[in-house]
Amino acid sequence: MTAADDLDRRLILATQAGLPLVPQPYHTLAEQLGCTAEEVMTRLSAMLARGTIRRIGAVPNHYAIGYTANGMSVWDVPDECIDELGAQVGALAFVTHAYHRPRALPDWPYNLFAMVHGASREEVLAKVDEIRGGLGAACRCHDVLFSTEILKKTGLRIAG
């Protein structure tokens, strides 16, 4: 591992629980890491540009901001048109994630996953019907799985 990689890694370790809530957070991080604030800002900008950092900001607790129902909708659509359909589903405002994933046959025929958030199960199911309508005949079967219990939620942590 190069020294450059090492600074990125130490920056990740120092910020994965959150940014310091002080007027100059990047200066505070620089002091912790033994580099300059400019270096911290350059590294963060570079990680943002190459996608190592998706975004910097607030991560809301879905439940606390009113999205008390979250449904994982799953769809069996033809592989040859999944990218077009995935983009179409992902563009809907109430879909927060959309992925092409492998099937696990015979019990799991679904290859398109879309997370739907709403204030109630009824609202989520109505939105799922909207997706169903948009997919038309391309949808061979579908299901919605609701989370009924959070069993663990620690988020991503890399070891120090």
């Binding site: 940014l19 190459r50 995935g86 992925y99 092409h100 019990d107 609701f146 663990k152 070891a159």
Partner: protein, 177 residues
């Protein structure tokens, strides 16, 4: 840290005032990288730097926000983040749940139930995300969980991610916006 079933119920919908809502809606991304980022963000929101810092502190303490900072994409660092599921028999639930959650590679774990299919004998009802620092770590974690539980683990790696808007607008009740 392990959350129990009560977590779902006690994650009560927060009461947020108009400024809290504006902060959450506006700051889900694009936090500035500059000398005084909170001052820059506060100016756009029409509040002071001190107020923004105090509000963020309070939103974190009240668990309205789970974090404030960079969201990392582990895949870009050589690691992997894979959704996986198991069909866990009801009678064995507590044992399997404890065994799965004991693995540090398990980042999130949710119990899920099907809304449309009630006919499956062994539905996939435990869904978790494996996060490992290397791609090879996923297969190792799957093998370890299978050995510890005696049940098959189905990994569902993403083959492709479709673009989505990253913002959820605050729905919580509160003072008129």
């Amino acid at each position: 840290m392990r959350e129990t079933g009560a977590a779902m119920a006690d994650a009560a919908i927060a009461v947020l005032d108009a400024i809290d809502r504006r902060i959450i809606d506006a700051l889900q991304g694009d936090f500035p990288i500059c000398d005084r980022p909170y001052a820059a963000a506060a100016e756009k929101l029409g509040i002071g730097e001190d107020e923004l810092l105090a509000r963020l502190q309070s939103l974190l303490e009240r668990k309205v926000l789970t974090r404030f900072g960079p969201m990392f994409q582990i895949e870009r660092m050589g690691g992997a983040f894979v959704l996986a599921a198991m069909a866990v028999p009801e009678a064995d639930w507590a044992r399997v749940n404890a065994a799965v959650n004991a693995f540090p590679e398990v980042a999130h774990n949710y119990r899920r139930e099907s809304a449309l299919r009630r006919d499956l004998a062994a539905p996939l009802n435990m869904w978790f995300v494996l996060a490992t620092e290397t791609k090879a770590g996923i297969a190792e974690a799957v093998a370890k969980i299978e050995a510890a539980t005696g049940l098959p683990v189905h990994p569902f790696p993403k083959l492709k991610e479709y673009f989505v808007e990253m913002k959820l607008v605050v729905r919580a009740p509160g003072a008129a916006a």
